[in-house]
Symmetry: C2
DNA sequence: GTCTATACGTAGATAGAC
DNA sequence: GTCTATCTACGTATAGAC
């Protein structure tokens, strides 16, 4: 392997790749498994071979670790271009293969409605943003009044609700819930388009 | 008020009404505000004028307090008779006036997908049950194939998802989300019935 | 950059007095 | 039935050595 010149291994045998990124990946896992309240810094640290105090060198508090993790995810999730309703099913399909990510969002978005939760604002803003984006997508293709008989705004709210609700049911019963199928069914209800991977 | 003979006030000036029930009410509040992990027994105890140790006399552990609280709620929530799709909107309307109850369910049902959570089984069973009940209701009125073009089972899954997802969005933005309106819109999409408090 | 030591708080639970 | 006292465990965070 000719990766020698690309990984200078400056400090010690460390495989570079920003320690911070490793930590954020571990944090995602741990927050998914235990929520923010249930998670401990020591557990996150352990997964990257650090002590709790070593971790605090990179992120000076648990809160800041959470925020950094959410910001990183937002960055990665940012869809480069607008996608069509059809492509939404693909996004959901992809999610169904990443239970960890689905679980962090489900757990944290709900936990964040509790008092003084550090991610409250984050999720409130995120929901508002996603609703707007979905509404724009629907409006672009179908106008303000969807074929199914609801407005683009109402349709966006329902679509977001269905996706979150399905994730919750799926996490509780992965074998009984088929998220892509159900989202496709929902889109058919709203748009009347049977092009959507259904019958 | 002639409530004297009904409240013997045996022990002391205590307003009877099972201490256990008071505790369960307080537990619901506190779990709603902080989730299970975030809540402390002391906070619950304080609200009913007890110390943490006094509370443990009635419920020997935090877990058992949670379970007892959920069982109690289930008992109260048990709908005496089957309700129709139209009545479902009323149920949602009633929920919109009880943010505390909506919040416990939203927070705990999501938190319960985390590792070793004491309410995991409870919510998994509850979801399965509600899906079945909703499917039966839809099937009874519309048969196996709903007018909107989805099966009764798929419709039930979607309906449950929408309700949970709307609650989450509503808790984050009470002024922007109208749960009864949106549920009515969802029912119209599935059943084609415009009788449902819509246009 | 990562560790040891440690301060400090809080939480759940037990034992036993009243 | 409710309290005081107490044990034990854990969690965040700071200070400072290496």
């Amino acid at each position: 392997m000719a990766s020698n010149e690309e990984t200078p291994r400056r400090g010690r045998g460390r495989p570079p790749g920003n320690r911070r990124d490793e930590i954020l990946r571990a944090a995602l896992e741990v927050f998914a498994e235990s929520g923010f309240n249930g998670a401990s810094l020591a557990t996150v640290a352990e997964r990257v071979g650090l002590t709790q105090q070593g971790l605090l060198h990179y992120f000076p508090s648990k809160q800041q670790l959470l925020v950094a993790m959410l910001d990183k995810r937002d960055e990665l999730d940012r869809q480069p271009q607008r996608f069509s309703p059809e492509e939404l099913v693909n996004v959901v399909q992809r999610n169904a293969e990443r239970p960890g990510i689905v679980q962090v969002y489900t757990v944290l978005s709900a936990e964040s409605v509790t008092e003084n939760h550090p991610a409250r604002e984050h999720f409130a803003a995120r929901f508002a943003d996603v609703r707007q984006r979905f509404a724009a997508i629907l409006r672009e293709k179908y106008g303000d009044h969807l074929p199914g008989g609801v407005s683009a705004d109402e349709g966006a709210t329902l679509l977001v609700a269905v996706m979150d609700g399905l994730q919750l049911q799926w996490l509780h019963a992965p074998d009984e819930i088929d998220m892509p199928d159900s989202v496709a069914a929902m889109l058919r209800l709203m748009t009347g388009d049977s092009v959507l991977s259904g019958e």
